[in-house]
Symmetry: C2
Subunit: 352 residues, 2 copies
Amino acid sequence: MLEDKEQKRTSLERLGEFGLIEHLTQNFELNHASSIKGIGDDAAVLDSTEYKTVLTTDLLVEGVHFDLSYMPLKHLGYKAVMVNLSDVYAMNAKATQITVSLAVSNRFPLEALEELYDGIALACKMYNVDLIGGDTTSSQKGMLISVTALGQVNEEQISYRNGARPNDLLVVSGDLGGAYMGLQVLEREKEVYKVNPNSQPDLSPYSYIVERQLKPEARKDIVELLAKLEVKPTSMIDISDGLSSEIMHLSKSSGVGCNLFEDKIPLDPTVISACEEFKMDSTLVALSGGEDYELLFTVKQEDYEKIKGNPNLTVIGYMTEANEGTHLVTRGNHKIPLTAQGWNSFSNSEEE
Amino acid sequence: MLEDKEQKRTSLERLGEFGLIEHLTQNFELNHASSIKGIGDDAAVLDSTEYKTVLTTDLLVEGVHFDLSYMPLKHLGYKAVMVNLSDVYAMNAKATQITVSLAVSNRFPLEALEELYDGIALACKMYNVDLIGGDTTSSQKGMLISVTALGQVNEEQISYRNGARPNDLLVVSGDLGGAYMGLQVLEREKEVYKVNPNSQPDLSPYSYIVERQLKPEARKDIVELLAKLEVKPTSMIDISDGLSSEIMHLSKSSGVGCNLFEDKIPLDPTVISACEEFKMDSTLVALSGGEDYELLFTVKQEDYEKIKGNPNLTVIGYMTEANEGTHLVTRGNHKIPLTAQGWNSFSNSEEE
């Protein structure tokens, strides 16, 4: 599949820790006025005097969160940033800075890390965030990436998880299940490759879902759209673990219940056809698949007029009193408690 | 040596990721007004409207930065925080918040992580910092800790690395070489233990240097002392890699040279006696040993009266014009270029 050609290998030891950071980050620029000092001192210095600061951090571990046999390093760098920016946007904030720390075994040459940083640089450019710090070190095994992302927001614009109220509408951006089905395709091709390394898979019918897995985009545009529409979500979360899990987080934090309508869940046609091919239930995939990095939020009923008909947003349910519980209302009009179909049902297949 | 008794082992799988974070962080309180929202949403929320924010991050990897055969987990948690706070203090800032991310293999039971978090909690309490976020995940091998620390400072009080001027005095807090000699003692005892697991080492003669290695303290007190003395360092850095390396960082960043006097380098008597025992040169150990987490800074000549005689501070040299280079002035009054004795001379023994 995606073979590392390794035409050039520069040993990391030749550069040393300081040389490595300097080399990898030399083309990164600071574009935000709030980035007073970036890489090169004991700490970065930020000016957050006009806004509140949001801060989030995520750890990506090789063999747990990514598989380099089908994940190109440039995509990995890009995705590592996206995963964190998604959390910033889920606060209804503007992402402004990131730090990237890296632990790598001596199996990686400098050229591999350059590819990784190419992806990080592309993400910084596309999303207008400044790389302001980080750390690089060796690991005993594999690669580990720790990213921290910062953002800015006016206090009154922050969307916490706990602000949903009964009768608020439940809205999701984009469509769901794609990243999970992309992973299924990639895992299948990996197995084929093991048996026949000369096989040339045609992934073109799956390009949308494979891209959802390998190169997800955080929904900066949705935060900007909501600001333009003058809609402030009463609560918001990003979908990293699956719709069901995130609905339960919002419901629990806000002290409300929820009715989710199966027939409203947005699915791309590619997801539906892949689910048919893999004999999977598309609703279950959307509920439990994870890694979609869409935004899930609640809005007041009176904001419906502002969002209706927008192709990026789908109303998929509404919040209820807490004692009504969190339910999926099926196409056949049955109510199934969401716990039963939550991401936990996938845990056996995802754990080692 | 420090045997893990493992009287109780609770598998991490039983808790799941969310349960684990909740469990480990349940007793952490937010004490800073600037910590608006801590753990429990997509991101933490901070108020930095009155000060500038400094931010630093460090990655600690088992087998590279620490060895659990002699590093108790509580100490490791404490040290992981100290390493980062030290960078905040090196900006002349007040440390206020941290995030802690953790990757652990299934070899660690819940009780081990509780010990680690006990150390983190103690560090938070002693240094008055709030734990505001983090991530926990599994690793393929060993333990990895990623800490990000934040601090606050008035812009005019920030001490960057680049502010040293010729004739500024070079000052160091505390004493040097202890952490490195403590490591030598611990490594020796580990070898003894391998041969005879029933040996009962008497580490009491080495308690000072062993503690410097296992439970270092970041110099919050020095930042407070300097504020009280109304001394603003013209440049500052923390000593993590060794005096020589840090002097060269300050000199290079500031565009100046430096004369360091060998006979002024502060050494604890325990370090001197351990160096004799291990047949090591104490000056070389101080220059290249690392992990002392003392503060190295420069002050204007006119501030000498304010700092002289303070038992926490030692003037060890002065800055020169850049073209004079960075030198060690030996006891015999020879001038040796600092590059020659820098931490690079240790690199063979420290790398894998």
